[in-house]
Symmetry: C2
Subunit: 393 residues, 2 copies
């Protein structure tokens, strides 16, 4: 097993009406003037923003609102947030929403005290040394950003999607009320389940076969995602299933499932180009490309894919060769994706055939013009990326 | 499921030579003058204290040493530590050892700024409002104190063992190098495995049957403890198995396995009287009393014990009644304890018959003279406690 660092300092308040504690939590973590950052009108219409405002007022916290964050959050909004924080002397960022809003807050956090333009950080042309603290009220279980150290931002100019990470990005607190997710449409719920499963699988499919406790926990989370994911699609207002999914999404991406393993993350990288080019949901893109990635790379650690088939997918692998078991596990995973309405190939994802030119462009972007590789289990060069996209058509 | 708070902010540095980072970690968390607190001479003889001192010196951290913490750490040592902190203007506590040393540090942390005597805190006659920060280099995986919010201290006068807890007790960092545990004797290793399993089981055997993700994670940790616990007893210097046990011990007690459940903790309470009266190891005491507790309380949630039998102990429960499955699971657990050298009754624990008078005295202390109950799954009064002790003879 590999040496590791584990750091998940986020204070989680989980349960019904948890959002009423947000004012007290901001106070506990030293906030006095808050930027209340959110997305579209659904959080306003549902009354959630009102309840959050009331909680802030009761705690004597001043705040300024900035709504309008869109999926694949944009650097232009981040720049507006930074300007507002300077203008209003904001000292705490509060995200009310899903991964996009939280990631937008994280970018504001890093950019607030950075001397240059915040996008330079995402281009790795600079480093942030001072951050603003942030917290969140989570409304979409998927991205795991509420406990993670990462942030993904899109630059509209050039359609570039880049990530930046820091332990300072970890939310001081995360408020999670499963009831807030009752109204999530089935498609978005399924995309979320896929995303959190992939956060676990990116860490699980490693070359390191010897971290039993981490693997066992990862398998437990994956099985829960499938069982409860199916339930919640049938019963969208089932509190317990919504709760399982919500908490599983945080555990999937707070590094617990990666302690002692080396994450791969190639599927995420390949997908970022898909959602960049076709504006598809991240979760759906992951489901569409994973099977192709798995078949392309499994030879590097066939027994791990066989273990996955048995321990996670519940395949009876007795009598199968390791390769047969691995393939059976991949097929079972694809059947699960299909059962929750996710695509398992690019045609179903995009709604038409993806062209050779598009594949070459994505491989080019993903490899930064053939200058970098992705993946750890199997190191993928530009040509490998193109092959995985092609095999997924 | 119950609402919950989850807060596990400890920075974990895990791996070979991790202790060399301790100076940098103290610095990261603001320490400048350290109390280096440890137990007996083994940490000195092994060279660990030297390596820790070197790391502190390299980071420019001043320190004062205070060794001599004993198992079931004593309030007299805590008082010495508090006096030393005042005298030397200490601003950070560093525990090098197992749960006893860490718990002693926690008590010093709470007592340093408390106006009265520190023992009053453990008697619930006062409340600490300011704490000193602490970190640890863990050498014994068992108590889970490296990530927990609790501390247990013994007052030699009257042989009283009491606990006190606070989120401020959570270590800022925990350094974990599995190699440091190679020399742990088999008995102490087995006691540790028992203790961490019981930390999980105290949370698992609840009335709440609906926290699937927590249950699945708890079951994964329990299975790992058994598999890797057996391995490590056969191969004490197997790095990977020592690593699994070490990390499992932290996960078992950082509240991860209790998210959404109501912990019971009766077995721990009953055991505290055993180790108080007979000076036995905490882990061994837990193993000796658990079966009796389980049979006394299982009727409150028989199906959970049956699930435990199947999912954790691997019992083929098909064709069994729920009660038969529950009993089979308890027996399987006792067989595991026996297989790692743990006692499963009081006679084997103490080495002689425990007398009626002793049982009555323990029940009396555990119930504070019949004024309080313990347990949640089944609420235990003084008479119940005495019955559980008697049934365990």
């Amino acid at each position: 097993m590999k040496d590791f660092k584990y750091y998940a300092p986020t204070w989680v308040e989980f349960g019904r009406n948890a959002e009423e504690k947000v004012g007290a939590l901001v106070k506990r973590f030293g906030g006095t003037r808050v930027l209340l950052h959110y997305g579209g009108q659904s959080a306003v219409r549902s009354g959630l923003i009102d309840r959050v405002e009331n909680s802030l007022k009761e705690a004597g916290i001043a705040y300024v609102k900035l709504g309008g964050v869109v999926p694949n959050p944009r650097v232009s909004m981040v720049r507006r947030g930074i300007a507002l924080c300077k203008q209003e002397n904001i000292d705490f960022l509060l995200a009310v929403g899903g991964g996009s809003v939280i990631d937008s807050c994280k970018a504001i956090s890093a950019g607030r005290y950075y001397q240059g333009d915040v996008w330079d950080l995402y281009l790795r042309r600079g480093e942030a040394t001072r951050f603003m603290p942030l917290g969140c009220v989570l409304t979409i279980p998927a991205a795991g950003s509420e406990m993670s150290d990462g942030s993904v931002i899109t630059n509209e100019e050039g359609n570039l999607k880049k990530d930046y990470g820091s332990d300072e990005f970890r939310c001081k607190f995360a408020v999670m009320n499963p009831e807030l997710t009752y109204t999530l449409p089935a498609w978005q719920t399924a995309c979320g389940v896929t995303d959190m499963m992939m956060h676990t699988m990116e860490r699980y499919f490693s070359k390191d076969d010897d971290m039993e406790v981490t693997d066992a926990v990862a398998e437990a989370i994956l099985r829960t995602c499938m069982t409860e994911g199916r339930k919640v699609l049938d019963h969208p207002t089932d509190y317990n299933s919504r709760a399982q999914i919500m908490w599983a999404g945080s555990l999937a991406h707070n590094d617990l499932t990666g302690c002692g393993t080396s994450g791969d993350w190639a599927t995420h990288c390949l997908e970022h180009e898909l959602s960049g080019m076709f504006d598809v949901s991240h979760g759906a893109g992951l489901a569409a490309i994973w099977g192709s990635w798995a078949r392309y790379t499994r030879g590097e650690n066939m027994s791990r894919f066989a273990r996955f088939a048995h321990n996670v997918m519940g395949v009876d692998t007795s009598g199968m060769s390791t390769e047969e078991a691995a393939e059976a596990g991949i097929q079972a995973m694809e059947r699960f994706y299909t059962s929750i309405g996710m695509p398992t190939n690019l045609h179903d994802l995009v709604g038409r055939d993806v062209t050779d030119a598009e594949i070459e462009e994505m491989a080019d972007k993903c490899s930064d013009g053939d200058t970098k590789t992705v993946g750890v289990l199997r190191v993928l060069h530009r040509a490998d990326m193109a092959a995985i996209y092609r095999n997924a058509r």
